[in-house]
Symmetry: C2
Subunit: 219 residues, 2 copies
């Protein structure tokens, strides 16, 4: 579709395809997905589909029972809220590391922020989710910690963000603008501030939760 010479593996293309199908509701939660059926529909063999299934199962989007079948995992409220404190901790670490490194500016982060605001005003929530994910992934990358990257990727942020923006009433423009103070904190040179801001950012759109209890902080 995009190019006749695939730069990435078929398995990854299949994976992205399935993610989109789920995010857009064409694959409902709980619906069974069969490797051979998807393979036939996409014109591939079972092998890349199987690989895609494994990756999606690893981030909790699919659920496979050996020799029985695979189905779309029904993401409960708990699944969504569970991810929040973990993300908060991980991105908090990223913020601290970046600020310790003395970051003063980053063009890619700036680009993604502009992109977010632009598409949010245009009402394109899927594009907003894409840009938002790219922004946060960039932060993780800037931290330069492979373990951190792997842990973050394991949360399947793409999907969560897509789902959250596609199926909730969150205000897109407000969500886009909420990244400005994040950028400011990252470039402030203050590790404690950066960690706190990055962490708090995760709780911004989860009204029911207000973050973990912390010991009293002076100031």
């Amino acid at each position: 579709m995009s190019s006749r010479l695939p730069r990435i593996t078929l398995a990854d293309q299949v994976r992205d395809h399935i993610v989109m199908e789920i995010a857009q509701g064409r694959l409902a939660p709980g619906a069974p997905v069969r490797e051979l059926e998807i393979a036939e529909r996409l014109g591939t063999s079972q092998t890349p589909v199987r690989e895609a299934f494994r990756k999606l199962a690893a981030v909790g989007l699919l659920e496979t029972r050996i020799h029985v079948g695979t189905r779309v995992r029904d993401l409960t409220e708990k699944d969504l809220t569970d991810a929040v404190p973990v993300r908060a901790a991980l991105e908090g670490i990223a913020g601290r590391l970046i600020a310790e490194g003395g970051l003063t500016a980053d063009d890619e982060l700036l680009d993604q922020m502009e992109q977010m605001e632009s598409v949010a005003r245009g009402g394109n929530r899927i594009a907003l989710a894409t840009a938002c994910t790219a922004f946060h992934r960039r932060i993780i990358t800037l931290a330069g910690n492979d373990s951190l990257s792997r842990a973050w990727e394991s949360l399947g942020i793409e999907v969560m963000t897509l789902m959250a923006l596609a199926h909730t009433e969150i205000d897109a423009v407000q969500a886009a603008l909420s990244h400005l103070p994040v950028y400011a904190a990252l470039t402030s040179g203050d590790p404690v501030l950066a960690e706190r801001e990055l962490s708090a950012h995760q709780f911004a759109f989860v009204p029911s939760s207000e973050g973990p209890p912390v010991a009293d902080v002076a100031g």
Copy 2:
């Protein structure tokens, strides 16, 4: 070899086999590993080996370049130290959640602690690594947060622990005993204490690092 009726998939057996080969030094860091060669050696086809490779690459133990090859990742000092703050954050969260849940005792944790002390005194460092991993995995499980579990698993703790205990001078008995205050904190009912203790536990054997900077805490 072990059983003629495999209860788990071949891919997982292959994965465990490769982990052991790496941990025991039979597969050196940087050494190339070819899917078909491993398949032949283990008497399977390429498919399960490939799946095992992907899982191991996901935890950073192998490194695959598309259409080129896979090699054992050379775990640098940085890789080991990178994992520490991430583990600290994740297990800290686990500690907080468990204490909030009001855990008073857990037989499995107690069993693993006994096991650790026993095998440590016997000098079996591999068994110590196994028990230690089981202990910490149990903690993550007790937290009851799927995102947390996935993030933790993504760090490949098994391998890291195995490598650390197999190739360093860490005192086994001391390492085993260091889990007692962890258990005490978990069952104390104090979320802040549990989070702090679980987190600090990760820095115990990393002399060069003393943990992240924190805001001044009253008391």
